[in-house]
Structure formats: C-alpha cells, structure tokens
C-alpha cells in the first residue's frame, strides 16, 4: 500500500537523506554568514540579509517537500513548496538590484 501512496521518491528515505544533507549545509552556511555579517554595516549588511533570506526561503521549500513525503504524498503541499522556491528567487533578484543601486557607495563604479 505504501508503494501506491508515495508519488515521489522510489525510496522515501532518500527525501529525508536529502533534507538532512541540505539542513547540514544550510546550518554551516548560516554560521559562516552570521560570522561574516558581524563585520558588515549599513547597505552591505542589508545585501547579505537578502541573500540569507533567499537561501532560507529555498530551504523552507525543501522542508515542505519532506513534509509532503511524511504526509503520504499530499500533493497540495507542492503549492507552498514551489511558492517558497519562487519567493527565494525574487529575494535574490532584489539583492542583485540592490547591488546595482548601491554600487557607487561601495566604490564599485557605476554598474
């Protein structure tokens, strides 16, 4: 019966393995980022916050995927999963535009 319910990974444990790997990497990244963030100020700090928010939103999407696996293939959870992925990219675009607007302040010349 379980084989019929699972719509995604052939081996559902694979989803948890993937989420564990991503969780581990995310935690290390956040630790590095927070360490680097302490040395930034003003607009540089805001750029870093935007990139961090983007990554955390994407991680939220991965967590929804794991939840979908636990909820026996509840396909409705795909919508928040992909919405979070989309929001993550929108945040990253905002970060890119932010760099363009602040390029003079950071001494990068007119980008």
């Amino acid at each position: 019966m379980i084989e019929n319910i699972h719509t995604s990974f052939t081996d559902p444990d694979m989803a948890f393995l993937m989420v564990s790997i991503v969780l581990g990497i995310t935690l290390i990244s956040v630790a590095y980022s927070l360490k680097a963030r302490q040395k930034l100020m003003g607009s540089e700090k805001e750029l870093f916050d935007k990139m961090l928010a983007s990554m955390l939103l994407f991680f939220g999407g991965v967590l929804f995927h794991a939840l979908r696996e636990v909820a026996w293939g509840n396909s409705l959870l795909r919508i928040p999963e992909h919405t979070l992925y989309l929001l993550s990219f929108i945040f990253a675009i905002e970060a890119g535009l932010y760099v363009m607007n602040n390029s003079d302040e950071w001494g990068l010349g007119g980008i």
Partner: protein, 130 residues
C-alpha cells in the same frame, strides 16, 4: 492532470524563469566589477541561483514527461544540494574577503587591538614618581 499539479508546475516554471534572470543579473554585475574577489563573490551568487533554478527546470521536465522517481529526481535534488553547497562557499568567500580586504569590510569590533600609545604607561609612571 490534477489542478494542484498544474499550479505547482506553473510556479516551478515561474521560479525557473526568475532564477535564470537572476543568474544573468549576477553574471552581468560580475563582468562590470574590476576587483577579482568581488567578482568571485558575484559569480558564486550566479552559480547558486543557476544550480537552484536548474533543479526547478528538471522538475518541470520530469513532470512534463510524467516520470515519477528514477534518475531525474536524483538529478533534481542533486542540483538543489549543489546550490546550497555553492551558497556555503560564497559565505566562506565573503568571510575571507571581509577579513583580507577593505572592499566589503570593517574591522571586527571584538578583534581590533587598541593602539599602544604609551600614554597610559607614562601616567602610571608619573603617579609612581609622585
């Protein structure tokens, strides 16, 4: 095809498109910067968004071909894990750049040593003399 799947695929296409535009923005920024370390930082951000949006593209292809499970799913999540790895490397690079150069950094408040001007010592010596 179920309605929720259609919404999910629409969102995934939108996410992949936004991710690709984002990659182009970061590459464009990297090309216009002369400092090689800042350039590397922007290229890392481009790599992150490219890998993550590739994961979304594989999802769209997989659902379009009605393939469940199998190798494509491993490739999809391989891209996502690689994207997070690239972000970790970019955070490390940021840390290294902020420690080495002044482009994106200021001295850490806890680590800077106070300048030894010798004034404090002389005051103590004066007091001892007195």
């Amino acid at each position: 095809m179920a309605f929720d799947m259609l919404i999910a695929i629409t969102l995934a296409i939108a996410a992949a498109a936004v991710g690709l535009i984002n990659t182009l923005i970061w590459i464009r920024l990297a090309n216009k910067v002369t400092d090689s370390t800042v350039q590397a930082k922007f290229m890392y951000f481009a790599l992150v968004t490219m890998l993550l949006s590739s994961g979304e593209i594989v999802f769209v292809i997989r659902k379009g071909m009605k393939l469940t499970g199998g190798m494509l799913e491993y490739i999809q999540y391989g891209f996502i894990v690689a994207g997070f790895l690239a972000f970790m490397l970019s955070a490390r690079l940021h840390l290294r750049v902020s420690e080495m150069y002044g482009v994106f950094s200021r001295p850490a408040s806890g680590r800077t040593k106070a300048k030894n001007t010798g004034k404090g010592k002389s005051k103590i010596k004066d007091k001892i003399r007195a």
